[in-house]
């Protein structure tokens, strides 16, 4: 079947407002999700789950959150890592301090706490933007870095903020094997991804984008900048916070504040730039890219070195990694500021006309 929308006539606005108005897209995505749930578990080994798929799913969730704020609402953040930390540590506290607290509840409450903190640190966005706002979000980063290291109550008096959770149990299922972790994260991501897509096509999403594109005009048609910006901060931080809780609970199991350092914040920002600002799809592309690149370089560079008879050390690989990383960021900003998502949609556009491009 060719990729065509010919003959798919929409007779209601409802049909026209679907998430994927083209039938092939709709089926494609459904198939992909079904495959992720049913097919993937048969195809990959434990290493793949642990090193690639689970980090990819969780970072996708975080990158979705960052994209809602940066890509859709135009509010730059360099403090996303801090909100992951807040999600993780708040979730941890809910889990150990509230008797009978279910794991899923703790994770969501962790997200909710991150949302509340996000609102507080979003307040400067009402006065400043761009670079100045970036600095304000860095303030959040350094404050929380410090708080989880030094305020003992947050980490239940454990030294250097190192905490761990075990025996995860979600609605009767034990989350301990890589497969169960994968399925759990995938389910969360599907729900959150759908919700994000819904928000950006609803009035709240339009308000965010209006603020991003032309804030004065947005105010003139009655959008409250305060409401739009703070909801963006709240929703974004909620996503990022849940991702943080998952990262701690499910991926790491035990963690310390360094897991959510300023480097993590930059990494999340890079994901949305490379993936595509203002694109849900792009958030996934960006996360995939950033998870896979280091693994690829680790495998590939020594091989390349051996080809030229050079010994390549791990330090060199890690330096090469950050170099390539930085170069790619600059490259994307210059060549395709809309990221991988734009390449994807350009490709689809071509496909729609193929094989008669005119």
């Amino acid at each position: 079947m060719l990729y065509r929308e010919n003959g798919q006539f929409k007779t209601t606005y409802q049909a026209d407002q679907q998430i994927f108005p083209i039938a092939q897209d709709r089926w494609g995505v459904l198939l992909l999700i079904a495959f992720a749930f049913v097919g993937v578990p048969f195809l990959v080994d434990e290493y793949m789950f642990r090193a690639i798929l689970i980090p990819f799913l969780i970072l996708s969730l975080a990158s979705l959150g960052v994209n809602l704020l940066v890509g859709y609402c135009g509010q730059i953040t360099l403090g996303a890592g801090a909100f992951m930390a807040v999600g993780a540590y708040a979730g941890y506290n809910f889990l150990i301090r509230v008797p009978e607290m279910p794991v899923l509840g703790a994770i969501l409450l962790g997200g909710a706490t991150a949302a509340a903190v996000g609102i507080v640190f979003g307040v400067p966005s009402l006065r400043v933007r761009g670079l100045y706002l970036a600095v304000a979000t860095l303030a959040a980063q350094f404050f929380w870095d410090w708080a989880f290291l030094r305020i003992k109550w947050f980490t239940n008096d454990s030294p250097s903020g190192n905490v761990s959770v075990s025996n995860l149990n979600v609605m009767g299922f034990e989350i301990s094997s890589p497969l169960s972790k994968y399925i759990f994260c995938l389910s969360v991501l599907v729900v959150f991804g759908l919700a994000a897509k819904n928000m950006v096509r609803a009035t709240i999403g339009r308000q965010w984008m209006a603020i991003r594109d032309m804030d004065v005009a947005a105010a003139v048609i009655g959008i409250r900048p305060m409401y739009a910006k703070l909801t963006a901060f709240a929703v974004s931080s909620f996503y990022v916070g849940v991702a943080g809780a998952l990262w701690g609970f499910v991926h790491l199991g035990s963690w310390e504040p360094a897991a959510f350092s300023v480097d993590r914040s930059f990494q999340l920002l890079f994901m949305v730039i490379i993936g595509g600002l203002g694109s849900i799809m792009g958030s996934f592309f960006g996360a995939a890219f950033i998870v896979i690149l280091p693994i690829f370089l680790n495998q590939f560079l020594p091989v390349l070195g051996a080809l030229f008879g050079m010994e390549i050390s791990t330090a060199t690989v890690s330096h090469a990694e950050i170099t390539i990383f930085g170069a790619l960021i600059v490259f994307f900003l210059i060549v395709e500021p809309h990221g991988l998502a734009r390449l994807w949609s350009t490709g689809k556009e071509k496909l729609r006309l193929w094989p008669f491009p005119h």
Binding site: Y13, T203, R212, A219, V220
Partner: protein, 261 residues
């Protein structure tokens, strides 16, 4: 003109003065706008026309004066309040949301009327979904009215200038405003586009009874379509009245011909 009937004063501006730092943009300006009329503000560049509109919908806050809208006295307007009270606005340098499609741009004009909460929107169920459809219908009416059906899904950044101006108008109309402020709606258009725009403005005024406050440089257009004209020069009011009066006003003539400067 047609069957519309000009009513009482709906918007009354009294002794408005506005300055930025030490620079006076507006000095002691008073004029009123009646319901259903087309009121033009004219004047040379830098006369303070756009500042005047910005005062009316609360982007700028005058240091002195009073704004009376629908009988309510105010020191100044707030943008959100102005929007809620039914004042809409188009911009001189088109201020569309350039990352969004035409349809989405116009839909933003409905935002004040969409009440469903964030959770319902995230889940796309119940009232959120119904609301979305309901307002889409209204927006489609406006799209039909302004004859821009063919560009509905186009990102506004890709449109030619004339069409962008029309989308700007569409977004303002989507608010179903009582008073519509138009900042040079025909600037930079060719004759044909100007004629279209004139027609739309008059139709809006006629069919919806919308009061229109208009800034325009094309004197022919202004004299043709407006009921009353106020003339500004260097932030001061130098003339006010029906087009024929203004045309005959010596001060206005000299401001335009530059004789007295």
């Amino acid at each position: 003109m047609s069957g519309r009937k000009i009513g009482d004063v709906i918007l009354d501006l009294k002794n408005i003065s506005l300055s930025f730092g030490g620079v006076k943009a507006l000095t002691d300006i008073s004029f009123d706008v009646r319901e259903h009329e087309v009121r033009a503000i004219i004047g040379p560049n830098g006369a303070g026309k756009s500042s005047m509109l910005n005062v009316i919908n609360g982007v700028y806050h005058p240091q002195e004066g009073e704004i009376i809208f629908r009988g309510q006295h105010r020191r100044d307007m707030d943008t959100h309040e102005a929007a809620e009270q039914g004042i809409a606005r188009t911009f001189q340098n088109i201020a569309l949301f350039k990352g969004m499609s035409v349809l989405d741009n116009i839909m933003t004009g409905r935002n004040l009327r969409m009440k469903s909460n964030l959770f319902l929107q995230a889940l796309w169920i119940g009232p959120a979904q119904r609301e979305e459809l309901e307002h889409r219908k209204k927006v489609e009416e406006i799209i039909d009215f302004l004859e821009i059906q063919h560009i509905r899904k186009t990102p506004v950044g890709r449109l030619p200038y004339g069409l962008q101006k029309r989308v700007d108008l569409a977004r303002a109309l989507a608010m179903e405003p009582e008073v519509l402020l138009l900042d040079e709606p025909m600037a930079g258009m060719n004759v044909e586009e100007k004629q279209d725009m004139c027609r739309f403005i008059l139709d809006v005024n006629d069919q919806f009874g919308t009061t229109i406050v208009l800034i325009e440089h094309d004197m022919g257009v202004v004299m043709d379509i407006s009921d009353r004209v106020v003339v500004l020069d260097y932030g001061k009011k130098i003339g006010d009245g029906v087009p024929d009066e203004v045309r005959a006003n010596p001060e206005v003539i000299s401001a335009y011909l530059g004789a007295s400067h």
